[in-house]
Symmetry: C2
Subunit: 203 residues, 2 copies
């Protein structure tokens, strides 16, 4: 009843979920950040929004049992299960060509923004811009004075989160290609992750 | 050489700035939150983005002397001067009809999202969605464990910020109509603010 796919290192993957289905995102190696988006079907007129989610949960990071909401403040994904220490990121934009240019790379460096667009295209979709994702497993601590920093993940190999769809949606994942900062682990080597579609919970 | 306008309580106002011009946003009564957006002219293909700005400044709140950047990571506004204690917000979406419905109000309650659209329309513009604004003067403290709360402003009457345009842009302000939370002061009475366009700094 379930279907597992690999999201290759530095690449993206999109999956269609019907309301009630879920997706388990497995940090196979424990070190990998996974930028994640959700777009409402059938026409993407609404989509998951971090600025609205922070207001809804009154937290910088949603916790197990809380809902990620859309621009229209409707629950789109339930963070149903989380075996990590709960460290994810809602603050940072997806990396993109401009980010890597500012770091001295040329435009051949892959990015989460590129992965978002490519993964949607593989399913025959497109979206006019790249919304701010939830960056699963990403460790961006903040200080009392508001500084943030880019630190290695704190997840163990095999840690996972389960995201349950509250409405029909396309969920997009990017195994972040960042290899300049330490966010994907001290080794700075982007790794693959796995996603597994789970059926609705039996009534 | 300068032009001062009132942004009426619960309403919005948009101004066109040429690169080098600035706008001084005066918290006339000290208690008022001002949601602020910037859209790049001539065609709005790029616009100010909080998720990109947080990454650029590596802070939750930009400080005097720092740049607010666009989706394409280009500086669009310089936070040139700030007479407040530096408490603003980049975390929260603009209030909108959905926010007030969730608080028990009907759709006649004004919102910052409505003000954004109305203010743009007054200048003959439109934008397909409401980006996450910088909420000037808004006091959303965070805790070590990531909780956020909605607290009264800490600005004094007459406190101001100066935002200098790094590119031609439309800058949109909303004197936030929130009267259910305490963000616009303990009295919960939305107030007007003033905006003054300043010429380029003489060479």
């Amino acid at each position: 009843m379930s279907e597992t796919s690999v999201v290759e290192a530095r690449h993206g993957k999109a999956v269609r979920l019907k309301a009630g289905e879920a997706v388990k995102v497995i940090n196979t190696h424990g070190t990998q950040v996974v930028d994640t988006w959700a777009l409402r079907l059938p026409d993407f007129h609404d989509y998951m929004s971090m600025p609205h989610t922070r207001v809804a949960v009154e937290r910088l990071i949603p916790r197990q049992g809380e809902y990620l909401v859309t621009q229209e403040r409707e629950p789109i994904l339930l963070l149903e299960e989380d075996t990590t220490p709960g460290i994810h990121d809602t603050l940072c934009a997806a990396c993109d060509a401009a980010r890597f240019r500012l770091m001295g790379f040329d435009d051949s460096h892959r990015s989460c923004a590129q992965n978002f667009n490519e993964a949607l295209a593989e399913l025959g979709y497109e979206f006019p811009f790249v919304p701010a994702p939830i960056n699963l497993f990403m460790n961006i601590p903040w200080t009392d004075d508001g500084s943030i920093s880019f630190e290695p993940t704190v997840s163990k190999p095999g840690d996972y989160v389960v995201l349950r769809a509250e409405m029909d949606a396309v969920v997009v994942f990017s195994a972040c290609p960042q290899d300049n900062l330490r966010i994907n682990g001290e080794e700075r080597v982007p790794m693959p992750v796995e996603v597994e579609i789970l059926p609705p919970v039996a009534a």
